[in-house]
């Protein structure tokens, strides 16, 4: 007992060994966040290549095959390398602080979960330099594009996905064990902050679907190298089977990328509206309902591939049903702000923008859910506009809101509010310029994943590219703000936000290396 008590009072190890061998949730959380931002810049650079090529009609800068590699890698890196690890990083930093635990439940495994990610992305990025180039079949890697017609590097892509999957599953197991087993005495489930709730449900989704992704890439691997016929009708398989299994993973996956953002926004809006969250219990149930429904809607990605009419109807209505719990959430966020004493610091700006712009993305999702209308929209830029509206001002703005909200807790310094607001407004304008015209392009019939287009699409594409460059450059400002804040700035009090609530504000800023070695008592 005595020796353990000592363990909790020493600081971090020196040098590189601190990061390689750490078992500290704060170190691991920081590594996740830094890694995800590095991936965000790499994936973003690929987006810049895409938008530069699309700035004008005609083939300007890259070969079509390389363009396809860019769209594929951009999607894979943003989904698996930027958004997911960022939320796992936030979970690592904040969950133990929010439930009053000394660390994550399984700290060594936690470190392994993180370090597998650089390994996986080293493998994935190495495909860019292989003969035949990187995967070029889109981030959804539909068979037979990825099996019969894929480049040789597809095999490395498959193993990279396996490593990411191992990382995600172990991370999710850790989150569940932490939340279910490590809460401070008195913190019942329905007293948990919403960020904790959304992560609990996200972790369940991860454990349920990442193995399915592992299964589908394994089938691809077998089809490519061992002559099986999972996705080849000549042997009784079906390429559509690939899409079913992929989207059984893929649809819960999109909620994995947004539910933690729901949690973040549900923490921040009450803090800056200085009112308790409206309808706490209904928020919890709504997240649960969205999670359950997410398993029943996958084929809405496949309306045009030839599924039976009954399937189209079922998946259309089930998809529309998701609007109900999502509507409950949006209503509750707005009701929380209603008559609140609101101030608009950077976290709140990102959160309010989240509510408005995510809702736009949700509405375009409803349009896409209508099967007969989807025949028109499918594989056009309308779809690109839709999912970028839920991912950029949804997931990414959620992450930015969280970072600004908790940065004082992490660094012990206040960030530069003027620069942060500049970051917000530049991002806000940039992303709307980049993605809003894509709705019009899609409705007018411009297909996605092409390096060249018909002349009538020129103007909107140019606007979109300008917006994308603006958004991309602005993220370097974010890097500057965070580095500046980490190095210095006004000292942050333990609770820098007047209206904030939760255990994380009861420890010093910056949070000591070990917190809650003895659990706090929750009333």
């Amino acid at each position: 007992m005595g020796s353990h008590a000592q363990d909790h009072h020493h600081g971090p190890a020196k040098g590189i060994s601190r990061w390689l061998f750490t078992t500290n949730h704060k170190d691991i959380g920081s590594m996740y966040l830094i890694f995800s931002f590095a991936m965000f810049l790499i994936g973003g650079a690929m987006a810049m290549v895409i938008r530069a090529e699309l700035f004008q009609p005609g083939l300007q800068i890259v070969e079509p095959n390389f363009f396809n590699q860019m769209t594929t890698m951009h999607g894979l890196i943003m989904v698996f390398g930027a958004v997911m690890p960022a939320f796992v990083g936030l979970a690592n930093w904040m969950l133990p602080l929010m439930v009053g635990a000394p660390d994550m439940a399984l700290p060594r495994m936690n470190n392994w979960s993180f370090w597998l990610l650089p390994a996986a992305f080293l493998m994935l990025l190495s495909t860019l330099f292989m003969p035949g180039g990187a995967p070029n079949f889109g981030w959804t890697f539909y068979a037979p594009l990825s099996t019969t017609y894929g480049p040789p590097s597809t095999t490395f892509f498959i193993f990279a996905v396996h490593i990411m999957g191992v990382s995600s599953i172990m991370g999710a197991i850790n989150v569940i064990a932490t939340i279910l087993n490590m809460r401070a005495p008195g913190m019942t489930l329905m007293k948990m902050p919403l960020f904790v709730w959304t992560w609990l449900i996200t972790a369940f989704l991860l454990i349920a679907v990442m193995p399915v992704l592992a299964g589908v890439v394994t089938m691809m691997l077998m089809d490519i190298h061992f002559g099986t016929s999972f996705f080849d009708a000549a042997g009784g398989g079906d390429p559509v089977l690939f899409q079913h299994i992929f989207w059984f993973f893929g649809h819960p996956e999109v909620y994995i990328m947004i539910l933690p953002a729901f949690g973040v926004v549900s923490q921040i809006i009450p803090a800056f509206a200085r009112k308790p969250l409206f309808g706490y219990a209904s928020m919890v149930y709504a997240v649960g309902a969205i999670a359950i429904l997410s398993f029943l809607v996958w084929a809405h990605h496949m309306f045009t591939v030839g599924i039976p009419l009954f399937g189209q109807l079922f998946f259309m209505y089930a998809t529309m049903l998701i609007a109900v719990p999502t509507g409950v959430k949006v209503f509750n966020w707005v009701a929380t702000m209603f008559r609140g004493s609101m101030t608009f610091e950077a976290p709140m700006l990102f959160s309010v923008a989240f509510v408005i712009l995510f809702t736009i993305g949700g509405f375009s999702g409803l349009m896409l859910a209508i099967a007969p209308a989807d025949f028109q929209y499918h594989d056009t830029y309308f779809v690109v506009a839709h999912f970028h509206y839920v991912l950029v001002p949804g997931a990414i703005f959620g992450i930015y809101a969280a970072v600004y909200y908790w940065l004082p807790k992490w660094t012990g310094h206040m960030y530069d509010e003027v620069l942060a607001k500049t970051h917000f407004w530049m991002s806000f304008v940039g992303m709307n310029l980049a993605f809003f015209p894509m709705h019009f392009l899609g409705l007018a019939g411009m297909p996605r994943r092409i390096p060249d287009y018909a002349l009538q699409f020129s103007n909107f594409n140019m606007i979109s590219s300008i917006g994308a460059f603006m958004f991309g450059l602005t993220q370097l400002l974010f890097l500057f703000i965070v580095v500046k804040c980490a190095l210095g700035g006004p000292k942050a009090p333990a609770k820098p936000w007047e209206g904030a609530e939760g255990l994380e504000w009861e420890v010093d800023s910056p949070a000591p290396y070990h917190t809650f070695s003895t659990p706090p008592e929750i009333k």
Partner: protein, 294 residues
Amino acid sequence: MANQSYYVPEQSKWPIVATVGMFIMMYGIASLMVNSSAGESTRGAWITFTVGSLIMVYMLFGWFGNVIKESRAGLYSSQMDRSFRWGMGWFIFSEVMFFAAFFGALFYARVFAIPWLGGEGDKGSTNMLWEGFQAAWPLIHTPDPSVYPPPKSLINPWTLPLFNTILLVTSSVTATFAHHALKRNDRDKVKTWLIATIALALVFLCVQGYEYVHAYRDLNLTLQSGIYGSTFFMLTGFHGVHVILGTIILVVITLRIFKGHFSADNHFGFEAACWYWHFVDVVWLGLFIFVYVI
């Protein structure tokens, strides 16, 4: 039950060793596949794969050894025990979902893809791809036999597979007997029942190996013989890999029992091995019904 002293381990080198090992191993196995499919030399890939695998083995010994040492030193509280239980339980759930993907492929092929290719149902027009293809399950005639030569016949479920089912179910029972004996602290019985469980597992694996040879040599039932062969070998193959893994776990647990590890009231390592073994057993029952019988 608050965490008076939840054990937060010191810095550990094992996660980074595991990462390096897994990366090298995966890179090796991917190169192996790519090079052999391209008809190139696989020597370097074999070396990479072997080096990675050896690092992984070293890591497994070291990391588990570390955990066993800490557990024996009494560092783990009952709260830690619960973390391990949640961890193992959800790990098994993730395994269930992995198998679910392959079962899903099997059901989809049987219920949708093959009847459609045979001209029945909503998407029966796909019959135009291979006109005259007759839908049937098991798939004895593939749509394009020149690419996917079909099996001559199939494995009779009521011979060796039934025997294997009995073996595996029995082994689940003997594992439970061992567990009950451990709870009574009757350590001789624990050893007997554990050895019986391992013996049953090994016989199962031998029978399965014989069945594979028989399928490949006599029945022309292979990975290449259409979706029946694909699902048959992937499901039974991944199950077999899990049986091998489970057997290794049981062997380790047995060796630990012989070394005097585990007490009557504190033996989660033992229980986790049993959980895993029951999971492997349940998957087999699903396989026996849906792959062999129906």
